[in-house]
């Protein structure tokens, strides 16, 4: 899941990025509203964390512009301005969730995960796909026979993206986009390696290869 963190406090960005990456998000960040608006329209991000007090362009205006342009990316507003009238204005402008500062990272991550599920019409809690169950908190997957497999960071990111986007063709470049950060060393061949490792853990039948197109994750397989 690729996440855009719009926040002008660099110290906060630094520590928050690390926590978010550990939670399985590929994090890009920007510290000003104009760049944020541009990046948010790139159709690259699965979720955006938006601070409201931004230099150059206010957060609410950025959000309004996204929504006016038909951009429906889930947005979580993270702000110190958390009086109820500000919340109401935030939701009215098109926010999907609202968290007041200061906050606990755990709560932020729970809310982000819930937002991801909601965006892909998945229920809250554990992620299920046929006989496998992914626990986002522990980043472990359990298969039909009840075995628990520990996933590496990238494996977890990849599997979660698959589960949240089942039954559709996902090219290597799409997968790369949503698993890695902007400045990461992107080699699409690495994706092949990770898919191979995932197949070893959850079984081959879940991920089909479409030659020249990419992969399809089958959700209904038992």
């Amino acid at each position: 899941m690729r996440l855009l963190l719009v926040e002008d406090d660099h110290v906060l960005v630094h520590s928050l990025s690390q926590s978010l990456q550990r939670a399985g998000y590929a994090v890009d960040s920007t510290d000003n509203g104009i760049e944020a608006e541009y990046l948010g329209n790139e159709n690259l991000y699965d979720v955006i964390i938006l601070d409201l007090g931004l230099p150059d362009r206010a957060g609410l205006e950025v959000l309004k512009n996204w929504r006016q342009q038909g951009n429906t990316v889930p947005v979580l507003v993270l702000t110190a301005r958390n009086a109820w009238h500000e919340r109401v204005d935030g939701f009215k402008t098109g926010a999907d969730d609202y968290l007041g500062k200061p906050f606990h990272v755990e709560e932020l991550i729970v809310r982000l995960n819930a937002l991801m599920h909601r965006a892909q019409q998945q229920p809250g809690g554990l992620l299920h796909a046929g006989d496998i169950t992914l626990n986002e908190e522990t980043q472990m997957v359990s298969t039909a026979d009840g075995t628990q497999h520990v996933l590496t960071g990238t494996e977890f990111r990849l599997l979660r993206y698959f589960i949240l986007h089942p039954n559709r063709v996902l090219s290597k470049s799409i997968l790369t986009d949503h698993v890695y950060e902007q400045d990461a060393d992107k080699d699409s061949n690495v994706i092949e390696t990770y898919v191979k490792r995932l197949r070893q853990k959850i079984g081959k039948s879940h991920i089909e290869t479409r030659r020249g197109q990419g992969y399809v994750f089958k959700s209904g397989i038992n």
Binding site: D9, S15, A80, W84, F91, K92, K101
Partner: protein, 452 residues
Amino acid sequence: MLSLQKRLGSGLLISLTIVFGSLWLVTRIAIEHLAEEYVVSRLSHDSESLLAAVQINTKGQVQMDSTHIAPTIYQRPFSGHYYRIQSSHTMIRSRSLWDQDLDVPLLQSGEVTRIHTLGPLQQHLLILVRGYQKQDIVISIAIAEDLSQLDAEIAIFQRYFAITAGTTLFILIVLQILILRGGLHPLHRITHELRELGQGQRHSLEVDTPHEIAPLVHEVNRLLVSNIQRVNRSRNAMADLAHALKRPLTVIQQHLQEHRKALPSSFTTVTESQLQNIRHSIEHILRRANLAGSGPAIVRLDAHTDIQDLINSLQHMYFDKQLHIDYVQIEPLTIAFDRQDMLELLGNLLDNACKWARHLVRLELVKNTELCIKVEDDGPGVADTDRAKLLQRGNRLDESTEGHGLGLAIVKDIVDQYNGHIDFSSSDRLGGLCVQVNLPIPDINGSSTIND
């Protein structure tokens, strides 16, 4: 205090009535006096003519020289003109008296008296009696005239005068009511505008007013503007302060979490709980400082849209719970309260309900003499004995739920600011907690109205 219109109106009414009443009285006395004097002077002349006609014979008896008595009015019975001449020995009455007599005293020479009495046929007689001395004999001549006719005419005049005066008085009163109404119209308008102001339908008073009250209107407008500026300035400053304080707090909290493993647990526990204390204090104090309070609302709460927006927001926040929030508005409401304060109040009440509810939350707004807000949920509810503690939780910093307790403490602040009261009970309808808040509705028209 009595209304201006009533005071001016009754003052004018009383003074006009006094003026017209005394005018009527003075005229009446003057006319009666004039008429009597006129009659008296005529009688006086007649009296002298009679004296000339009186002869004293050798026996000392009084006789009338009938050739001198020209007018036949003294001959015709009960004609209304009478005389009676009396000396110590004799008495002569005019023929018109017929068998009646006039009851008059015998006067000494030079004495004069006027007598009002009832004469024959119930005539109102004015009798002028005068004493003379002719050839050493004292003669008293009484001469009388019937005033009935004159009285009747005076009465007619007075009736006409009273009718005219009464009509004039009535017209003047009606006129002054109209003039007062017109004159006080700007005040009526301002009262109306103040009422709209109180309900948040306008932000200032019209400046097009008579110059007597223009300074008042300008001053009110100036105060309104400065009040709005002050509230906005303070709110902005508070928001900036909140921002400035919360950022470093967030960073500290983040760092603490990140390095938790490297730090002794006693250190992190204490620091975290202190951070939480700071956070709660900031939140509580800032929100209390941001309250506008009752008074002309800066931006009025729209009971339909704003509350619906709030409910949508809560449904986003509690998306996973799939809550159903019922909003019941007994009748279309206009609520003359500040939008920010009301959203803060309703937001915290509903948030608390959503936190504990299983599936259902119900919000009901009723407006009568007070605005009654009722929030119910289908959660576990609160035992009677614990309800009193609900409002103190924010201060005790019960950490069981994120941000828990702070909300109701803020609700209490807002309710206090609006001189309202808050009650907790068990919801009959849903089974959980029922919080009821009553806020008195500001009534600026109250006794200061200049309407009748």
